[in-house]
């Protein structure tokens, strides 16, 4: 009897350990970033930056170095579909100041490109900036860039 109980316990513990390991691997998967809990998923696959865009919202000139009078574009590639997905771009200066924060709510039905852009009429202060992109409230990636004279 004791032997049977011991055997059953070992099997249960082994199964629990296996399931736990499987769950851990699943949550560590970077591809899971930004997926919704509804079974329909969207993920950010790429963040590009440049000074201008093509008609399909990709950047013409992928760069992380800008001039003070540039309009700065970020093109965010997403994969997947969802009834609604909220993309937020938060731009910050090297001192931590939030330069701008804007949001778009999209209803993607497959691969899509969403662009955010910022400009400053009297020119950007030189220095280092950071763009952080959020998908449905979770950080989906960052890009650092510089403004130089």
């Amino acid at each position: 009897m004791h032997t049977r109980l011991l055997g059953t316990s070992i099997v249960a513990l082994t199964l629990a350990a296996f399931l736990s390991a499987a769950c851990t691997r699943s949550s560590d998967n970077p591809g899971a970033t930004g997926t919704t809990g509804t079974g329909v998923g969207v993920r950010v696959s790429q963040i590009d930056m440049g000074r201008s865009l093509t008609a399909d919202k990709t950047v013409n000139d992928n760069t992380d170095s800008f001039k003070p009078n540039d309009t700065i574009y970020a093109s965010i590639a997403t994969e997947g579909s969802a009834p609604t997905a909220t993309l937020k771009a938060r731009w910050t200066y090297q001192d931590g100041q939030v330069v701008n924060e804007s949001t778009q709510t999209i209803a993607p039905t497959g691969d899509a490109r969403t662009e955010f852009h910022i400009s400053k009429p009297n020119g950007w202060p030189t220095g280092t900036y950071k763009l952080e992109v959020f998908l449905n409230g979770s950080s989906a990636g960052t890009r650092d860039f510089d403004v130089e004279r």
């Binding site: 919202k57 100041q97 949001t103 969403t114 955010f116």
Partner: protein, 102 residues
């Protein structure tokens, strides 16, 4: 004594450059667009209000008329979105605005 203090002040300074002032980002303009269809109707709740995605041709008055039935209530939307609207006459397609108490 006063002279000593002044001299110490001079020697205390690391260099002759004036202290850097904090950059002003209040006039930053922003916008955006997507190849994906926009969820153009109010899509969720923020606090006690809703959100609205600006489309081409919108103005705060038009949005107020649509959301409240009164164009004169545009200021309520403006005040709720001072963080993203610098000039109430300038809003951009793709901007997400909070619509308080709608």
């Amino acid at each position: 004594m006063e002279r000593e203090v002044r001299l110490m002040g001079i020697f205390d300074r690391k260099d002759d450059t004036p202290p850097e002032s904090k950059p002003d980002f209040s006039n930053v303009r922003s916008g955006g667009s997507s190849t994906a269809p926009a969820a153009s109707r109010p899509t969720g709740t923020i606090g006690s209000g809703r959100t609205y995605i600006v489309v081409k041709g919108d103005s705060l008055s038009k949005i107020a008329k649509r959301e409240y039935g009164d164009a004169n209530k545009w200021r309520a939307i403006y005040e709720a979105n001072r963080d993203v609207i610098n000039d109430p006459d300038l809003i951009y397609p793709g901007q997400e605005l909070k619509v308080p108490g709608a």
